[in-house]
Each structure stands twice: as structure tokens, then as C-alpha cells.
């Protein structure tokens, strides 16, 4: 296999990796906010459920969670899991990352000085207005470094999709390496992850800079 065939075969995997990455962020960034807000719910039952969810997600390997999402429906309900591979994968990633993002959001929200809430309350803002206009914009600025960390981890975590034999770049690298007895696929995969994370860091730095107009 020439280098160019190797590259073109792996390019498809790179696209799938980017797909997992993008879909996970699109799903987990907003879901994490919902989870963070539910964690502050007035109902102790809701708070309890959210707490259990977060501790289970953080306390077990993502690889195991992916297997449960994929095979769970079959073993638990004897449902057919044909065509379920990709949805299970994305669900697993979203539900996992939402838990981590929720904790980051919570930390950010709790770090806000009470004076901001009081000023908004006295000015007559509703709770929703206070959150959307006063609190959230400041929280986003505060949590950007932690979000960057998590996004970089996600780039690398996409490789766990190989557990479900999904043909993203890492799975392909393993397969091609085994069949061609070549080390090259791993080098290609490594360079790909590195460049992807370089792009993530660049983008996040730009966002952080854009938010630096105030302190």
C-alpha cells in the first residue's frame, strides 16, 4: 500500500472523527447547561437524579459506557441493535461530556458574586433575564479555559469509538497497521490528532481574546 492510498483510506476516518467531535459538542454543550441548571432544581428528587448521573458518568470509563450504550438494548431488552452503532456512539459521548460540562458550568455559575444577582434583582430583571443577560455572559468568559481543556480531551477521546468498531481514524490506523505490518498509519493518526488539537487551541484562544474586552 502506497502512502497516498493509506492517506486517502484514512481521510475517510478523519472525517468520521470530526463528525463524532462536532456532534458531541453540539449535543453536550447545551445539554450540560440543562444538567447544571437541573442540579440547582428546587426538587430534591431531580437534584438527586442529577447527582447520581454525574457521579456514575465520572466514576466509570467512557469505553465501558460506550459498550453499554451499544449492547445494552440487546442484553436488557433483546432489541435488535442493527444500525444502532453510530447513534449509540454519539449518545454515549454526549451524555458523558454533558456531565463534565455541567460541572464546569456549575463552578462558573457559583463563582459569580452575589452582588451581580442583587443588582439585577433590584433593577427588576426577571430570573431568566438575570441569567441570560447578566450571569451567563460572565460565566462563559470565566469557564473558557476549562472548556478548552475538555474540548482537547474530546479530540483524543474520539479514538475510543474503536471499541464499537466504528471506522474513525484510530480504528483504521490499527487495521491498516496490522494488515500492512506498517507503523506509518499510527504516525499519520498521531499527526492528525495533533493538528486537530492545534486548531482547537487556536480557535479557543481567539474566543478568549474576543472576550477580553472587559475584566
Amino acid at each position: 500500500m502506497t502512502l497516498s492510498t493509506m492517506l486517502s483510506t484514512m481521510a475517510a476516518g478523519m472525517l468520521r472523527t470530526c463528525g463524532i467531535f462536532a456532534l458531541t459538542l453540539i449535543g453536550s454543550l447545551p445539554l450540560g447547561m440543562v444538567v447544571a441548571l437541573l442540579r440547582k432544581s428546587r426538587s430534591p428528587i431531580v437534584r438527586g437524579i442529577i447527582r447520581v448521573y454525574i457521579s456514575v458518568i465520572r466514576g466509570t470509563p467512557l469505553m465501558l459506557q460506550l459498550l453499554v450504550w451499544y449492547f445494552g438494548p440487546f442484553y436488557l431488552f433483546e432489541w435488535s441493535i442493527r444500525g444502532w452503532r453510530f447513534p449509540a456512539l454519539i449518545l454515549g459521548f454526549i451524555v458523558n461530556y454533558a456531565a463534565y460540562f455541567a460541572e464546569i458550568y456549575r463552578g462558573g455559575i457559583e463563582s459569580m458574586p452575589v452582588g451581580q444577582y442583587e443588582a439585577a434583582e433590584v433593577l427588576g430583571y426577571t430570573k431568566t433575564q438575570t441569567f441570560m443577560r447578566i450571569i451567563l455572559p460572565q460565566v462563559i468568559k470565566r469557564i473558557m479555559p476549562s472548556i478548552t481543556n475538555e474540548v482537547i480531551t474530546l479530540v483524543k477521546d474520539t479514538s475510543l469509538a474503536f471499541t464499537l468498531a466504528y471506522q474513525e481514524v484510530f480504528s483504521l490506523a490499527k487495521q491498516i497497521s496490522a494488515s500492512q505490518t506498517s507503523f506509518m498509519p499510527f504516525v499519520i493518526a498521531g499527526v492528525f490528532y495533533f493538528i486537530a488539537n492545534y486548531a482547537v487551541q487556536f480557535a479557543m484562544e481567539r474566543i478568549e481574546k474576543a472576550l477580553n474586552y472587559y475584566r
Partner: protein, 252 residues
């Protein structure tokens, strides 16, 4: 009467902070509240502005009841939507300014008028610029709070409260977080507002200011009003021993 507070009680756990305080504020009146720290002055202001809920008593704005105590001794506030309408009657200036750091000065002054009072952007900005001129900081309209001195920030905070066109303005130790050389510029604008007959209640440690600007001085200690009256009388001829003792500390 703009504000009436009757028999206000407030406790935090077992600690009684306010032990049945009654006070009223008439239109155009400037009332200073003085007293040692822990006397309950700030708590009284926070109760008046609904930042704290009272444990007994009544609060009325413009003769309308915002909170009362029922026959069982339970305090009942009006529904929170109605309570928000009461908030349009007053403004509060905090010790720590509490400006919104992500908004520039102009946005700090216009966001609530536009979003809460649904006034037009043009009108809100015009009102805001007028207020900034009055505060002597019209050149700072596009600046962000972190770029301003403490005195300028507090003047923005006063303007922000005034932009809502309140009937009464509360000040919670407005100069206590400022460097001594910056208190003057803030006191000057409060004095200017007093000259314009703005109704104000000022919790302060600035005795000279309280004496010069207010129509009435309330001396609080231990959760009760010990003495109140004309500033000249309270400062120069206090009747109560506790007042004398407090004022002596300041004379030194």
C-alpha cells in the same frame, strides 16, 4: 408617603437584627441613617428593597402594600410579579457598586430601562447621556467599569439607578468602599440630587455629610431606632445617652 415601614422585624437564625422598626419617607425628603456597625442599618435597607424578607411588619410603597403580617403572625408578600412592579418605585446604590462588568457604561444605564421597562433604545440612551452629564462622566459612556476609578464607578451606579426613574433612591454606605480622596465626588452628586429634591435614604458613616445634606437623621443601634430628628438636633444636642456615646467616637 413614598415609603412606609411599620414594626419591621428581621432575624438571622436566633440573632435579632431588627426589633420592630418603623419609619416613613416623604416625597423630597433626604433621610440619613447612622449608627454603629451591626446596628441593622444595612439590613433595614435590604428589607426595604426586598433583598431580605422581613419576619414581621409591613412595607408600603406609594400607599400600596408590598408585604404585611397576617393574623397568624406570618409575613405575606404580594406575588413576585407584582413585587417586580414595586421595584420600579425605588433604586439602590450598593457599597460595592455592583456594575455589570461585561457592559460598557452606557449599556449599564440602558439595559434595564430597555429590557425591564420596555422603553425605546433612543429614549433610554438619551436619558442615560443626560444622567452621565449630570454625574460629570459623559466622556466615559463607552468605557467599561474596570477602566474607571471607584468614584467614577459609583457615579455610574447612581446614574444606573436613576435611569429607571425611581421615586426614591436608597444608598447603602455609598462611599465606604472608596479611597478617601474619592468620596468627595460621590457625595457631591448625592448633594446635587438632594438640591433637586430627589427622595433619598442614605445609610452612611459620613457624619458631616449626613448633617449637611439630610432633612432628618435616624440613629440606629441594636436593631432599634434610638433617636431621630432634625440633623442639627441629633448631632449637636442628642437626647439619648447611646447617641452621645456614638457621636463622641466620631468627634475624636
Amino acid at each position: 408617603m413614598i415609603l412606609e415601614m411599620k414594626n419591621i422585624e428581621k432575624h438571622f437564625d436566633d440573632l435579632e437584627i431588627l426589633k420592630g422598626i418603623s419609619m416613613g419617607v416623604d416625597s423630597g425628603e433626604v433621610v440619613s441613617i447612622i449608627g454603629p456597625s451591626g446596628s441593622g442599618k444595612s439590613t433595614l435597607l435590604r428589607c426595604a428593597t426586598f433583598l431580605e424578607t422581613i419576619d414581621g411588619g409591613e412595607i408600603l410603597y406609594m400607599g400600596k402594600e408590598a408585604a404585611h403580617t397576617d393574623a397568624n403572625g406570618k409575613v405575606v408578600y404580594v406575588h413576585h410579579k407584582e413585587l417586580r412592579e414595586f421595584r420600579s418605585y425605588y433604586g439602590l446604590v450598593f457599597q460595592q457598586f455592583n456594575l455589570f462588568p461585561h457592559y460598557n457604561v452606557l449599556q449599564n444605564l440602558t439595559d434595564a430601562p430597555i429590557e425591564v421597562q420596555h422603553r425605546s433604545k433612543d429614549e433610554a440612551e438619551e436619558t442615560a447621556m443626560e444622567l452621565l452629564r449630570k454625574m460629570g462622566i459623559e466622556d466615559k459612556a463607552k468605557a467599561y467599569p474596570y477602566q474607571l476609578s471607584g468614584g467614577q464607578q459609583q457615579r455610574v451606579a447612581i446614574a444606573r439607578a436613576l435611569a429607571m426613574k425611581p421615586e426614591i433612591l436608597f444608598f447603602d454606605e455609598p462611599t465606604s468602599a472608596l479611597d478617601p480622596e474619592l468620596t468627595g465626588e460621590v457625595l457631591k452628586v448625592i448633594r446635587q440630587l438632594a438640591d433637586e429634591k430627589m427622595t433619598m435614604v442614605v445609610v452612611t458613616h459620613e457624619m458631616a455629610f449626613a448633617k449637611a445634606v439630610s432633612n432628618r437623621v435616624i440613629f440606629m443601634a441594636g436593631g432599634v431606632i434610638v433617636e431621630q430628628g432634625d440633623p442639627a438636633q441629633v448631632f449637636d444636642d442628642p437626647k439619648e445617652e447611646r447617641t452621645k456615646q456614638f457621636l463622641r467616637v466620631f468627634e475624636r
